[in-house]
C-alpha cells in the first residue's frame, strides 16, 4: 500500500471514529480533571452576574429575598453552585430568605440547599431568618395569587406552621413587598416569572439558569425586565469568585474548560481530516 493510500485510509478512519471511543476520551478527561483539579486562573466575572451580586450586596440589611429553587438532581451541578453562593451572600448580608419551588423533583434539593447554606451561619434561625415554603404544582395560579395576597396561596410553610405568624415574613403581604426575587431553574419558568409576576407586580427579578437557556434571556436583560442573570456553571463560579469563596462552581468550571477544549480539538481534528482527504 502506498503512503497516499495509507494516509487516505487513516483519514477515512478518523471520519468514522467509533462514538464509544469519544465517550471514553471524554470520560477519561473529566475523570482526571475531577480527581486532580487543575486550578486554572479565574476569569473576570460576567457583567450580568455582577449585577445580581451588586443587587444582593446593596440591599439594606433585613431585606426580604424570595428564592425560587426549581432545581433537581439532574441540573444540580449547574444550578446548585449558583444558588448556594447567592444564599450564602444573602445570609452574610443579614437578609431574610424564603425558598419556594414549583417543580416536584426540586423538593429534596431545595430543602438541602437551604439547610446546607444556613449551616455555615449558626446564628440564623428557621422561621426568623429563613423559611421553606411547600410545593405548589401550578406556578401560574401561585404567581397570580401571590401578586395580590401571598398568604392566599401559601397559608403554611413546609413544616405546617402558619406562615403569616413567622417573623421572617414580617412586612410581606404580596409580591410587590419583596425586595428581590431570584429564580433558579432549568426550564422556561423564568419567562413566566417575568410575564406573570415581575412585569405585573413590579419587583426586582434576577435569574439563575442552565447554560442551554442563557442566550434566551438576552432580550429580557437588555430591557431591564431581568435585573441580572447567572448562566450555567460559569455563573456559579463567577458568583463564588465575587463572594471571595471559590467552591464547587469554580472547581467544576476548570474541569468543564478542559472538556470543552477536548470537544474543540475533536471538531478541529475531524474538519482537518475531511479537508486533507479532499486534497489527497
Amino acid at each position: 500500500m502506498t503512503f497516499k493510500a495509507k494516509a487516505r485510509a487513516f483519514l477515512d478512519s478518523l471520519a468514522v471514529l467509533d462514538r464509544r471511543l469519544i465517550f471514553a476520551l471524554v470520560a477519561v478527561t473529566l475523570g482526571v480533571a475531577v480527581s486532580l483539579p487543575p486550578r486554572l486562573p479565574a476569569s473576570p466575572a460576567d457583567a450580568d452576574v455582577k449585577k445580581v451580586f451588586d443587587l444582593v450586596e446593596n440591599l439594606p440589611e433585613n431585606s426580604f429575598i424570595l428564592v425560587s429553587a426549581d432545581l433537581d438532581p439532574a441540573n444540580a451541578p449547574e444550578l446548585l453552585p449558583q444558588a448556594k453562593a447567592m444564599l450564602k451572600h444573602a445570609f452574610r448580608k443579614n437578609h431574610r430568605v424564603a425558598v419556594l419551588y414549583f417543580s416536584a423533583s426540586a423538593a429534596g434539593v431545595a430543602e438541602e440547599l437551604l439547610r446546607e447554606s444556613a449551616r455555615e451561619y449558626p446564628a440564623k434561625e428557621y422561621g426568623r431568618d429563613y423559611v421553606l415554603l411547600p410545593y405548589m404544582p401550578d406556578y401560574a395560579a401561585a404567581l397570580t395569587q401571590m401578586g395580590s395576597d401571598f398568604y392566599g396561596i401559601y397559608d403554611t410553610d413546609s413544616r405546617g406552621a402558619q406562615l403569616k405568624t413567622l417573623p421572617v415574613m414580617s412586612g410581606i403581604s404580596r409580591l410587590a413587598d419583596v425586595n428581590l426575587a431570584v429564580v433558579f431553574c432549568a426550564t422556561t419558568l423564568l419567562d413566566n416569572w417575568v410575564t406573570l409576576a415581575s412585569d405585573r407586580f413590579g419587583f426586582k427579578l434576577a435569574g439563575g439558569v442552565t447554560a442551554v437557556l442563557q442566550p434566551r434571556y438576552g432580550p429580557y436583560l437588555q430591557t431591564g425586565q431581568l435585573a441580572g442573570l447567572l448562566g450555567g456553571m460559569k455563573g456559579g463560579a463567577d458568583y463564588e469568585t465575587l463572594l471571595g469563596a471559590p467552591a464547587s462552581g469554580a472547581a467544576g468550571l476548570d474541569a468543564l474548560n478542559i472538556a470543552n477544549f477536548l470537544a474543540l480539538a475533536l471538531i478541529l481534528c475531524a474538519n482537518a481530516a475531511l479537508w486533507l482527504r479532499r486534497l489527497l
Partner: protein, 240 residues
C-alpha cells in the same frame, strides 16, 4: 472510618444506578433497563405522594374537614378531567377543560403582549430615544439591525426574496445562525456540566469510606457486559 448504614446504602444505590445508566453508551442492556424503569417508577411515586400530601391534603381535605366548602368547585372541576377516560361521562371533562383554556388564555394573552411584545419593542427603540452613546449605542444599533434582518427573513410575501429585503433576509439567516450556534455551544457545556456532576459524585463514593462502591460496581457492570458480549444473542439461539 465507614459511613453509617443509610448513607452507605444511598451511596451504593446512587453509584450503581449511575453506572447502569451509563452502560447504555456501550450498548442497550438489562442493567440500563432496570435503572430506566426504576427512575420512571420512583419519579411517578414521588410526584404522587408530594401531590397527595402537599396539595390534596392541605388544600382540599383539611379545609373540607374544617367545614370550609370553598375547595368543592375546584375539586369537582379537577375530577371532571378524569371523566375523559370513561366514554359515557367524557362530556363532563369539557367543563374542566373549558375552565383551563379560558383561564390560561385570559392570563397568557395580555401578559405576553405586554412583556414579550411591547416591552421588547420599547427596549429596542429606547436607547436611541434616550440618547445612549458609545458602546451602549453600538450595542443597541446591532440589536435593532439584527432584529430587522431576522424579521425580513420571516417575511414571505411576494418580492420579499429580492432587492434590499432579500439581502437583509440573508443577513437575518446569519444572525439566526449566530444565535443557534451560541445556544448549541451552551448546550454542549450544559451536558458536560451534568457529566461533571455525576463524576464528582462517583469520585466521592470511590473511597474506603463507602467500601469502594464505585470500583466494585464498575467492575461488576464491566463483567456483566463482557459476558453478554460473549453469549449468543436471542436471534442466534432461535436459529440454532
Amino acid at each position: 472510618m465507614t459511613a453509617d448504614a443509610s448513607l452507605m446504602a444511598g451511596a451504593w444505590v446512587c453509584a450503581g444506578l449511575t453506572l447502569f445508566l451509563y452502560s447504555f453508551l456501550y450498548r442497550d442492556n438489562p442493567l440500563f433497563k432496570i435503572a430506566e424503569h426504576l427512575y420512571l417508577g420512583a419519579g411517578m411515586g414521588w410526584l404522587f405522594q408530594l401531590t397527595l400530601f402537599n396539595v390534596w391534603k392541605l388544600k382540599i381535605w383539611q379545609p373540607l374537614c374544617a367545614g370550609d366548602l370553598t375547595p368543592v368547585l375546584p375539586a369537582l372541576l379537577g375530577l371532571s378531567l378524569v371523566a375523559q377516560r370513561f366514554h359515557r361521562f367524557a362530556w363532563l371533562s369539557r367543563y374542566g377543560f373549558a375552565f383551563l383554556m379560558g383561564y390560561g388564555a385570559g392570563l397568557a394573552v395580555p401578559t405576553a403582549i405586554a412583556s414579550n411584545f411591547l416591552s421588547q419593542l420599547h427596549g429596542t427603540i429606547e436607547p436611541f430615544a434616550s440618547g445612549a452613546s458609545g458602546a451602549a449605542l453600538l450595542n443597541a444599533a446591532l440589536v435593532a439591525f439584527g432584529l430587522l434582518c431576522v424579521l425580513c427573513r420571516f417575511f414571505f410575501s411576494l418580492g420579499a426574496r429580492s432587492g434590499v429585503m432579500g439581502r437583509a433576509s440573508v443577513v437575518g439567516s446569519y444572525v439566526l445562525m449566530v444565535y443557534f450556534g451560541a445556544s448549541f455551544g451552551n448546550a454542549v457545556m450544559g451536558r458536560f456540566s451534568m457529566l461533571y456532576g455525576r463524576f464528582e459524585e462517583l469520585r466521592r463514593y470511590s473511597g474506603a469510606e463507602y467500601l469502594y462502591a464505585v470500583p466494585v460496581l464498575a467492575a461488576a457492570v464491566a463483567l456483566f457486559l463482557a459476558r453478554r458480549a460473549g453469549a449468543p444473542s436471542k436471534k442466534e439461539t432461535g436459529r440454532a
